[in-house]
Amino acid sequence: MIAKKVSSNVIAVVLALFFAFPTYWMVTSAFKPTRDLSSSSYDLIPLSVTAQNFAAAWNKEGFLRSLGNSLLVSLTAVLAALLVGLLAAVAMSRLRFKGRKGFVLLMLVAQMAPFEALLIPMFLMMRDLDLLDKLPSLALIYFAVTLPFCAWTLRGFVNGIPLELEEAAMVDGCGRWGAFRRVTLPLLGPGLVATSVFAFVTAWNEFLYALSLMKDQAKETLPVWLSGFQTAFGTDWGGAMAASTLFTLPVLVFFLIVQRKMVSGVTAGAVKG
């Protein structure tokens, strides 16, 4: 029994190393001086360290501006997708009506759309709406892309909350809305958080649309900015790694903020059993 416990822990640690290594490699490469990067010597642990790459990334024109753009676009899209998705989720989970199956199916089928291939039609549509070169169009697209998944996942979370709780509240004199707000919504918190993580990562990473629809450089998002480290003569690895580290930080912060909620979401899920 103890041997089994120990071996499980050992396996878990090995897995942790596997998951962490690329991040470790990204960060240490960012701290290596340029001349050490393409080195034949064995450098699992950096032989020398410099902050020069971070300085270069930080000082490269447009970092803060594109960070702001990315945050604005991603957060708007996530909030909108959560709100609209939640409304749909409640309808699909709690109410019975004609065409319900169709809506459920739509949420699944919509996720099959080849997002990258929609570039040209989406571009033409945004052009005709005169939305090219405007950040809201990106927020709108990210919202639409993450919406089906959000609605679908949230539906699962709503399903997981026993209806009896809501009914009990209604018996206690709350209206339907009151019952939803006081009982269901708080229990949904963790579900909303878990869903938002997914939506946020999707929006935060998106490159193709951000590149093609925003002609004006003042509107570029972080992934587009990051691609600037790939020049005509190759990639500035040190700079790219430093910039990637900076790029990862906001996501990580977001994750760490919501991480406790995610764990409690798991516990809330356990309550219903």
């Binding site: 416990k5 499980s8 878990a12 640690v13 897995l15 942790a16 190393l17 998951f19 962490a20 690329p22 991040t23 490699w25 990204m26 034949s40 450098d43 609209v84 998705g85 409304l87 749909a88 309808a91 989970s93 109410l95 019975r96 009506f97 199916l105 739509l106 919509a110 099959m112 759309a113 080849p114 990258e116 291939a117 040209i120 709108l140 919202f143 639409a144 919406l147 089906p148 709503v158 997981g160 026993p162 209806l163 009896e164 809501e166 339907r176 878990a194 990473n205 490159f207 990051l226 990639t235 790219a240 790694m241 990637s244 790029f247 994750f255 991480q259 995610m262 798991v266 899920g269 219903k272």
Partner: protein, 327 residues
Amino acid sequence: MTAVHTTDAGVPTNKSAPRRAAPGGAPRRRGSSFDRLLPYLLLAPAFAAILWLIGWPVLSLLVTSFRKLNLKELTRGEVVWVGLDNYTEILGNPDFWIITARTVIFTVAVVGLSVLSGLLIALLMRQVSPVVRIVLQVTMLLAWAMPLIAATTVYQWIFDQQYGILNKTLVKLGFDGFAGYSWFSTGTSTLAVIGLLVVWQAVPFLAFSLYAGAIGIPRDQYEAAAIDGASPWQTFRSVTWPELRPLVMMLTFLSMLWDFKVFTQIWAFRKGGPDGASTTLPVLQYLEGISKSHFGVAAAVSVVMMVLLGVLTFQYLRRLIKQEGTL
């Protein structure tokens, strides 16, 4: 909840019990037209957004697949109908079927591996000490949070023929054959490295979801199984698997959708090379569309992709919708 001893996987899980009650609750207050309209009002924003921002582009993609749309027609707004020409062009290309088969195999392999790993890690997480579990969770978060562009760059760097840390480490461990070994000399090995990257980033989400599902399984079921003297494998078959099955199916379905469309990673590594041997359908779509500016042909490839994805997931969707009906 009483302990379930049955080994019949087909028995509906107790977790779906509240779900089943759910839709039945509302009609009690039927009557007012507001009540009848309410679901549609709630669904309207999502419905409108999906139709407008996904449905319409998909429809125009379908229309485009019957048109000749090169850069010239695109910039001038010309409409040239070519009937089925785009489809005969792509379907007549002998490489097309190889590419399609490759895409399906790649998808199935990556989905299978990531769902299986996710499941095993989720179960493992229940076994380990809290500190180790948190460490594992944080490292998985790191993998998940790493931006795609950064991740592809780092992987290329790790697998670099000459300066990659992997080859250097292998040589250090005594495998001298890996000095200057190229991981990208064949399509299969290129796709294997890309597959590893995709699995590495996909597993955290799957493991977290399955872990949530796994610790939701009531303890008394395991206790009952233990009293019956069930082996770990029997416990898994009779308790864990029936509980997790619906979740696993759902995640498999979603992973199919995502992994079938993997493009950025494949393109970033070798642009579908060497000799086009790691080209998948999304890469073909890109080659036709962006590289050659044959957007009509590219649209036809996308339509074929959607159809194929529909065929691959049809059974699952049908079963799911049937299940919805019984609720």
